[in-house]
Amino acid sequence: MNELAVSLPGLKLKNPIMPASGCFGFGHEYSNYYDLSELGAVIMKAATGNARLGNPTPRVAETASGMLNAIGLQNPGVDKIIEYEVPFLANFDTSIIANIAGSTIEEYEMVAAAFNYTEDVHALELNISCPNVKEGGIQFGTDPVMAAKVTERVKRVSKLPVYVKLSPNVADIVEMAKAVEAAGADGLSMINTLTGMQIHLPSKRPLIANKTGGLSGPAIKPIAIRMIYEVKQNVDLPIIGMGGICSAEDVLEFLLAGASAVAVGTANFGNPLVCKEIIDELPDVLSRYGFASVQEAMGKAVFV
């Protein structure tokens, strides 16, 4: 077996590296830089029931070792994604994960169900960091009861394995993970962004037009590692880890903490070749620290 290969529910990956949702579009642009068949998988930009135009601009701001974004789930809607985007990605020898979002449980169900009718999507990533319109804007991702509910309902309609993407904006990440595990999640994906704000001094306004945005990049890596560690000690689900990954060393740190695969987000912006470079360097880094394979490194941090 390939030393980089990993198996997760529904996913046989040639390596554990995938671009994170929202940081890679649907792959067109980055396919100019390298062959997407090199990737373990691609996680697509969030899909919602109908097309969404997203937030006003500016939508991004740079922060110390990180960035804020408030794209606002702009996407052409699930039907167009299935019609135009999935077929493009299906040209490559890589797995496809659909990130799904919605403002109501019904919208999540509808989007999830739509992906039942394509053979080319291998798993769903359930983005629960969206405010629930019906419940007055409370986030699915910060309330364990609501998180469990949307997970269960999506599981019921989908034939694909469901990775629930956890929000780090909570006091107790283990409680959230346990709730979605009990609700039938096949895996976890963590972490999404932390809510942040930057004020532009000349205009005295939040730089991001939406006021707040999601903080990502190396700045949040220690929080991601801590949360994956905590969850891994308490929950049995496989974890797709993310948050600030820039290098093969970072990947190993996530594997040691308990991730089974990883996603690379913000780092693509500073280096469009980053995923490919990480894949190329990973074997060396594994062996430098005494591991023969990705499989062997998983969860191998010593916590006692």
């Binding site: 579009g25 642009e29 997203g54 991004v60 280096n271």
Partner: protein, 251 residues
């Protein structure tokens, strides 16, 4: 095609207040870039690239000129690089100005502040096509003015400063009906200027170059949207632009 390239710094000098001219050597960019395209410069220690227009190309010597104003931490760092060092950038990025003018037509180039640089390479290319160019260049004050002589070689040039400390006093729009007839205009500068120009010149064929804060710089992250009159309702400044036909986007 846009690529990740290393560019060697061949020269760097301050040409106006806080304004740096940097000459970079790179084969791919110098051979393929067209006026209006930009470099997405990846600066060490910075999460996001810095979009900077291509101000001139010397194909023969593989030189790319950029002009930038030091306004924040990225441009400050960039200004501190010295000759011999290399910078990383994606480029040539975006879509440039259409150059299909008839010879003998007259075009108007309107540049404001740090929107002036792409007008220079554009003007040079148009001049090479025997197009007749008029340039109106606006700056805040005398100490910000740059490239006047270079523009004079390729266009009938008018300088405007906000405070009248150099050239005409006022805004670039004050001169629009004083420079004579033209068939088409090109403009780049601060948004309020572009808004004023397009509304004063509505009906004329015009190309505008827009700015927005960028994430990826390649069209993948959807950071740099501008509402547009197309099916999806938007265009991406980094990859559909930065140059647009004045009517196709809503500014």
């Amino acid at each position: 095609m846009i690529k990740k390239e290393k560019l060697q710094i061949i020269g760097t000098k301050q040409i106006a207040k806080d304004t740096i001219e940097m000459k970079l050597e790179n084969i791919h960019i110098s051979e393929t870039a067209v006026p209006g395209q930009f470099l997405h410069i990846l600066i060490e220690g910075h999460t996001l690239g810095r979009p900077i227009s291509i101000a001139d190309i010397d194909k023969e010597n593989h030189l790319v000129t950029i002009l930038f104003k030091v306004i924040g931490s990225g441009t400050k760092r960039l200004a501190a690089y010295s000759v011999g060092q290399q910078i990383n950038a994606l480029g040539p990025s975006g879509n440039g100005f259409p150059l299909r003018q008839e010879a003998k037509e007259t075009v108007l180039l309107i540049g404001g502040g740090i929107g002036v640089p792409p007008m220079y390479y554009l003007g040079k290319q148009l001049a090479a096509q025997n197009v007749n160019a008029i340039a109106i260049l606006g700056f805040q004050t005398a100490e910000n003015v740059f490239y006047e002589d270079k523009f004079k070689e390729i266009a009938e040039t008018y300088i405007v400063t906000d405070d009248g400390s150099y050239g005409n006093k006022g805004l670039v729009t004050d001169l629009l009906d004083k420079v004579g007839d033209f068939d088409c205009y090109y403009t780049c500068g601060p948004l309020p200027m572009i808004q004023a120009v397009t509304s004063k010149l509505s009906g004329k064929r015009g190309y505008i170059s827009l700015e927005e804060r960028m994430g990826c710089g390649v069209g993948a992250c959807l950071a740099c949207m501008i509402p547009a009159n197309n099916e999806s309702g938007y265009k991406k400044i980094c990859s559909d632009g930065p140059v647009f036909l004045a009517e196709e986007v809503t500014i």
